[in-house]
Symmetry: C2
Subunit: 297 residues, 2 copies
């Protein structure tokens, strides 16, 4: 493992710890009545995961500001929001996925009824966590507004819906882009946007980082789809080939593996250029962007 990779791995672990502590502190104990819901929430939330969205938010914030303590509740909110989408997506009526983050998915352990409610709870928790942060009311309102926009019927939910509708159909590039932008891209962009809002970054800086987010978001999705085809169940921790089997719309399915990988590489190259102006401060975002291309899980 190269020195840079080691540096990144250590930093991801460190930030993940901070976010986990924040979420753990906020969530009820797993033996709080009614127990099942609290156990189910913790099951998926703490099943693993790199905390990629909080990580992006924290390091975007650090480009323009310092003390990260006050933003940790918002970082936790992003992870809870992400986990809510995972739990609902895995339900039998949507992707019917039995594995997630290397463990049995929430409904596979606790049943679909509890998993449904656990997902709902996490969406509510995400908003509560933002509300609990020690930031100004005006900023809270803006964060909640943007979280709702990214999550709702023109965001994640729209992406999920079009994904469902496209299953088994031949979709064109435009539809595929719509799904990508709204499913994976949306939360990655929200994380970067939150980092900018919380650090009061200028408009040009915010726009610059938005482009960075667009590019790594799409690259992440393409690599995810490639990994889904090439991957190994034990490494990735979710059911492999599932997206392919059910004929989901994916970039590699449409353009082939070679062309897809090249596209991801170009996107990451363009994204990294956006960081050059930040010098040393952009190091971890740069390492992370590069990691997207080489990750095996």
């Amino acid at each position: 493992m190269s020195q840079n990779r080691l540096l990144l791995k250590r930093d991801i672990k460190e930030k993940k710890e901070l976010v986990n502590i924040e979420m753990d502190r906020y969530l009820p104990r797993k033996d709080e009545y009614p127990k099942q819901i609290h156990k189910a929430i913790r099951h998926t939330l703490f099943a693993g995961g790199k905390r990629l969205r909080p990580y992006l938010m924290i390091h975007t914030y650090r480009l323009f500001a310092n003390d990260i303590r006050k933003i940790l509740p918002v970082a936790g909110a992003l992870e809870m929001l992400h986990t809510y989408t995972l739990i609902h997506d895995d339900l039998p009526e949507i992707d019917n996925d039995e594995y997630r983050r290397g463990k049995k998915s929430c409904h596979a352990v606790y049943g679909s009824d509890i998993a449904l409610l656990a997902g709902d709870s996490l969406l509510v928790f995400a908003i509560e966590l933002i509300n609990s942060a020690e930031i100004e009311d005006k900023l809270k309102i803006q964060l909640i507004r943007e979280l709702c926009e990214a999550t709702g019927h023109r965001g994640l939910i729209a992406g999920q819906l079009v994904d469902i509708e496209s299953e088994g159909k031949k979709v064109n590039e435009k539809v595929l882009k719509y799904i990508h932008t709204n499913k994976t891209g949306r939360l990655i962009n929200l994380a970067i946007r939150f980092g900018c809002l919380l650090s009061e970054a200028s408009e040009p800086e915010t726009n610059n980082m938005k482009v960075f987010g667009d590019k790594i978001g799409l690259a992440f999705q393409i690599m995810d789809d490639i990994l889904d085809i090439e991957g190994d169940k034990e490494i990735l921790g979710k059911s492999i080939g599932k997206d392919n089997q059910s004929q989901k719309a994916t970039y590699p399915a449409m353009n082939g593996l070679e062309k897809s990988r090249q596209k991801a590489e170009n996107l990451i190259e363009e994204a990294r250029q956006r960081l050059e102006k930040y010098g040393e401060k952009g190091l971890y975002l740069d390492l992370l962007a590069n990691f997207i291309l080489t990750r095996k899980y």
Copy 2:
């Protein structure tokens, strides 16, 4: 129909119109892409319903303040939140109910996947509507905080969960009360609480109205369970006897019809006493409380 009943009916219709217009204005057209989600949302939201929670909020507000226009978005948010719970509760993994508000339930028409996402959307919409209201940021934050508390793992979701866990089991009065308080009672109390917060009612008035809410909430649930046993499908518009068939925990199942009706009557009597001090201003809330005892639907 007595004159009072006519008065109430007309006023419910009038307020319902106002709330419907507000929600309609805020929601995307049903042909907005992706269509299915917007059709599904409107299907259940506009399938009927008395808009009881907005009605309670509006008339509580009017005890202490006048112009109701600025609070209509919040009234709409309450109805959306309520409809989110209906759609998710009706899903096959929870109550598996094919009918709601006299029509086919959301999942029965659009499928469970779309219904799940429609429910999620409505929860997000509820928060967005509060955010869109022309009220101070501080008040918005408080409303969103209390909405989350009422909805989350210690509110509606907890009530629903304990309800699921109690199915087919003999439950004691304490558990039954927990379910009632958190399932039906919670949103009724939230509506009254919102009316007080928006009108800046004093603490003693807010406490007085909380007691009113506790009592009508419980009476409403008891009467709902009685209607479920005695009711007629065409009138009530949902599958009758369902709660009973599946051995759900209900007050009449535990205490018999006669005793249950008496209990509801006492609660309404006590609730109405809380309104006496408001004189003429409390008229519609008084009529509504009385209506809970006599409603056939």
